[in-house]
């Protein structure tokens, strides 16, 4: 068993190496309802984090892992927060899926966020479902507490069809539920 390489911070200069043209589009490669996932990332003082990299990995509309496209990986989106700490990705609505143990998962994204000041990434799952619909999802069960579950539920935007809003608070009041790894 080889020893793992430790994680280090992404630092403030990552755009040089990590900028992908059109990276904010997940290019799932199969049809589905077009959606936008957007929100703000804020720190322990409530200030916007303008130097974060935000990545999502998801199932396609049928609940299957997307295959590679000709020039892009399928199902992976990468974007960078702006001055207001806002991120935004474009994709298709992921389908529900099941685990090998029969567990049922509501439509969701795996989210990985990197930033200066984080020596390792923060990881979580954002669920595109109401608290009631998500109640048997393994992540909802693991979180337990209803107020904390709310921090990982994206909300449909009433004014903009197809847009889901989800804010990330990395520390403090209303801190998002992150996953241990």
């Amino acid at each position: 068993m080889a020893g793992e390489t430790p994680s280090q911070t992404i630092g403030p200069f990552f755009h040089i190496g990590l900028e992908w043209k059109g990276g904010e589009n997940a290019e799932v490669g199969t049809p589905g309802e077009r959606i936008t996932l957007t929100g703000r990332i804020t720190d322990g003082a409530g200030a916007p984090i303008d130097d974060a990299m935000f990545e999502t990995w998801q199932m396609d509309a049928a609940g299957k892992p997307p295959a590679a496209g000709e020039t892009r990986p399928g199902g992976l989106a990468r974007c960078y927060t702006d001055k207001d700490g806002r991120y935004r990705i474009e994709t298709v609505m992921p389908g529900a899926f099941s685990g090998p143990d029969g567990a049922r998962y509501v439509p969701q994204f795996n989210v990985t966020i990197f930033m200066r000041g984080l020596l390792k990434a923060i990881r979580t799952r954002v669920l595109l479902a109401s608290a009631d619909a998500a109640k048997d999802d393994p992540f909802a069960r693991a979180i337990g507490d209803a107020a904390r579950l709310k921090t990982v539920l994206a909300q449909r935007d009433a004014a903009r069809p197809g847009t889901w809003n989800w804010d990330v608070r990395v520390q403090g009041e209303g801190e998002t539920a992150f996953i241990e790894f």
Binding site: E4, L18, A68, N110, Q171
Partner: protein, 224 residues
């Protein structure tokens, strides 16, 4: 087993203070999204991005180096078609980035961006120059040791890693809070490349080796 990764809150690195999560982290069994991951087609990377010295019209300033290595999983098996992304500052310690305002010259022949997919043996090879050390405001008289930034995608989403590579014998390593943030000295040593002269080019470039081991099997059902 000693902790391999740094903690979120590590006050010697000041920027962690307002950005480290403080609530208990959630323990949840791996989902099918953790045990799958994006696949990168060959055409995603440009062949030219393996040689960072070819970016400008002329040769960049600095000590030319060949960096070889492998991406392995934590059972020591090579990871094929892993995406390896690299970024670094120039030989004077300046990043080609608007946020870097430190008073050192930009090099018109150096951007500092590299990208490759590993081959069937999990191997990669970059041609670049050794980055310079640079000052930062984290602590009085603070200087970051020479380092290269690496971003890795393995075969599953759980293997995703961003790390930094350092140089053997660098006198700035003991004062760098970022390098020293992983608590286990043996784990820190895995971020230091080794000199491998025969991987260089005689009379042209120094050779270094950097082996990267991805975790994440703990996130697979087998690991439970």
């Amino acid at each position: 087993m000693p902790q391999i990764h740094p903690p979120y809150l590590y006050p010697p690195y000041k920027s962690t203070v307002l950005r480290a999560p403080k609530q208990a982290l959630v323990r949840v069994p791996p989902s099918p999204l953790d045990t799958s991951g994006p696949a990168f087609p060959k055409r995603f990377v440009k062949q030219s991005e393996a040689d960072l010295t070819q970016w400008g019209k002329g040769a960049p300033l600095g000590e030319k180096m060949i960096l070889v290595g492998r991406v392995l999983d934590d059972a020591g098996r090579p990871v094929r078609s892993a995406l390896v992304e690299l970024w670094q500052c120039n030989a004077a310690g300046r990043y080609a980035h608007p946020v870097d305002q430190h008073d050192a010259p930009l090099d018109p022949n150096f951007l500092g961006r590299g990208q490759v997919l590993t081959d069937d043996a999990g191997e990669f090879r970059f041609v670049t120059i050794k980055p310079g050390a640079y000052p930062w405001r984290n602590q009085p008289f603070g200087w970051r040791p020479a380092h290269l930034h690496f971003s890795l995608f393995g075969s599953t989403n759980a293997e995703r890693l961003i790390t930094q590579m350092f140089f053997p014998g660098d006198p700035l390593l003991p004062i760098d809070p970022i390098f020293n943030s992983p608590p286990d000295p043996a784990a820190r040593a895995r971020m230091v490349a080794s000199l491998e002269l025969e991987s260089g080019i005689e009379e042209v470039a120094l050779g270094y080796r950097f082996e990267i081991v991805l975790g994440g099997r703990r996130a697979t059902p087998m690991g439970h």
